[in-house]
Amino acid sequence: MKCFSRYLPYIFRPPSSLLSSSCHTEADIISTVEFNPTGELLATGDKGGRVVVFQREQESKNHPHRRGEYNVYSTFQSHEPEFDYLKSLEIEEKINKIRWLPQQNAAYFLLSTNDKTVKLWKISERDKRPEGYNLKDEDGRIRDPTTITALRVPVLRPMDLMVEATPRRIFSNAHTYHINSISVNSDYETYMSTDDLRINLWNLEITNRSFNIVDIKPANMEELTEVITAAEFHPNQCNTFVYSSSKGSIRLCDMRTSALCDNHSKLFEEPEDPSNRSFFSEIISSISDVKFSHSGRYLMTRDYLTVKVWDVNMESKPLETYQVHDYLRSKLCSLYENDCIFDKFECVWNGTDSVLMTGSYNNFFRMFDRNTKRDVTLEASRENSKPRAILKPRKVCVGGKRRKDEISVDSLDFSKKILHTAWHPYENIIAVAATNNLYIFQDKVN
């Protein structure tokens, strides 16, 4: 078994346990994965509107091998299905995105959104409870005041740890179209929510008002040819954000220039390669995800076949382009027919902005090292992941003689797609969502 430390400077091992839901229904399909800013917590949202938060186990001398494993911390129902009576349509409860707020006190806060409503959730621990009330007994029943002869001061006594999630804010009725992104601003006071045609800016404290900062809805809907696919705030500059479109362009906007940022400050667009032109050129150029690097100097975009890194200061073309699964280029018609061409893959940076990761089909996911220009394909599957073993690199055979461990393009399972992945902010720990299973891989370089 080849060790792939030759390709990348880390070795990923699967954990001793696989986090999986017990019932395999469509509601368990994971729809978003996100680490919190310290990496201590990992949140997943699923199609059934539930959020599951995992917490990293503290280091312990008793169980050194369990250091850094993630266990379930809290589970709650974030969104419920709704019915829009005016349009006779059901509003899905599927969680589209989760974004954590930076921690400011003992409690954790996250924003979760479905197609229409954003909610701010507070996750807090309770490990003490007051005992010894005067007016009620331990069961909560009111005591008869005439029986009280002495007063006592209630004391806090330890109890079993309880993690409770409470909705603190509900931001609703601001989006006519489906919300595809939320992004917390670096000022930690505001955030933006993005739907197909508009971007709204919210104050975290105020739920009954939002400001529209981008509106690309044409006066005549028949002229609509482009929608917004993703948006994100700059990690450091609270006035800057980017949004990507279905036509493959990214616009950077500065909120200081005007209240409505319909006019971009920068437009990142790569001219189309005429040799690759096909009926599906536009569809595959649609950007499914855009992410600033941690430094804020670079942008990463994901379209159907590639991942591109842009320098924020250069609009004319990307700095780097990485092929995720170019062998699919000749299969676009089939992928169009079975709708796979509309799949929206996300992409993530590692903590040092040196490695990119994104998903593919057949439960494969890819990593690209920007410095060494090496890339690797890994698989998130139970069969291939024995505990403590190293993840074996996979290879797709595109033609000619297929080698022993290779898999041919025609044998790929297109129902097993990895759309959502997350990378720990500092360490080499990755979370990969494969349909209804969550894989957490850690680098244990000893």
């Binding site: 346990s17 999986s20 395999h24 349009k87 059901e90 028949e222 000749s330 018609c333 027919e337 025609d410």
Partner: protein, 286 residues
């Protein structure tokens, strides 16, 4: 509420209820000729066109890596994509959660193909075009800025293809009928691929265009003159009033589509949308 249990490599990963649209989709093909092989006791989803063989453990010959559609001559490739486009756009209305993003991409692809066909049509004999292309494409000169997807227009999608008709003359109506007839005769040759679904959608579109032929005398603008169409906020195509079609099959859907496109319901739809938008404005402002 299901809990996520930590299971140490327990139960199998197989899901019983796969995602309806895609389960095992293989791209391998033996030949582009009709060959409908379904895996015995296979998964629920079957690729609509039997052009693509479903295989899972079925022995295949060393097949080409290329898409079978790439073996076809360009016009037929284009026709295939066009058919698929229309298919998908129609099915958008039947979906539980229609996606604006998807609809826009499909519409743009459709527009691009139609534009190409239109340009070619200007150099070829128009009658030659009538056959392989669809009725609305056969009158290229009269197609305005191609609104094949009126995303918030109250008409159902295929009915919306008919806006091109109001702008045509009576002659073109005949052309349409002609085109229809020719289509019917020529389609069987394409239907050698046994793509019955695409046939349905084509015939379905005829149904609707016939029922909306009353629009021939009216210019599109006149209908909407007193209605502020710019205010429509709809996140999907299937706004109204066809909730029934989501539950029905293809035929049901088409029937309700044709019933929807009657003039009275059209007006009803439009005023409803006006109210909707008004309410929406209030909600957003509050």
């Amino acid at each position: 509420m299901g809990q996520r249990d930590i299971k140490a490599f327990e139960a199998s990963m197989k899901r019983k209820n796969g995602i309806p649209t895609v389960s095992m989709c293989r791209l391998d093909v033996e030949s582009p000729v009709v060959k409908k092989e379904v895996e015995p006791g296979g998964d629920g989803s079957v690729l609509s066109s039997s052009r693509y063989m479903l295989g899972r453990g079925v022995k295949r010959k060393l097949s080409t890596c290329e898409d079978p559609s790439q073996d076809l001559p360009y016009p037929q490739q284009r026709q295939l994509v066009l058919d698929l486009c229309l298919d998908k756009l129609q099915s958008c209305q039947r979906r539980a959660e229609p996606s604006l993003h998807r609809s826009v991409l499909l519409a743009n692809t459709l527009r691009q193909i139609q534009q190409e066909m239109r340009q070619e049509g200007e150099t070829c004999f128009p009658s030659a075009l009538l056959g392989p292309s669809l009725p609305h494409a056969s009158t290229p000169r009269h197609i305005p800025d191609l609104p094949p997807v009126p995303l918030d227009c109250p008409q159902p999608l295929t009915g919306a293809l008919s806006p091109s008709f109001p702008l045509t003359t009576a002659d073109d109506d005949e052309e349409v009928q002609l085109g229809g007839a020719e289509n019917e005769t020529l389609l069987p040759s394409f239907a050698g691929e046994d793509d019955t679904r695409s046939l349905d959608s084509l015939f379905g579109s005829f149904e609707i265009t016939n029922s909306t032929s009353y629009l021939t005398d009216l210019a599109l603008d006149d209908i909407f003159e007193d209605i502020d169409t710019s205010m429509y906020d709809s996140s999907d195509i299937s706004v109204l009033p066809c909730p029934a079609q989501r539950s029905g099959g293809v035929d049901d859907g088409l029937k309700s589509l044709s019933s929807c496109s009657s003039n009275s319901s059209l007006q009803f739809c439009l005023s409803d949308l006006n109210d909707l938008d008004h309410i929406m404005e209030i909600l957003v402002r509050s």
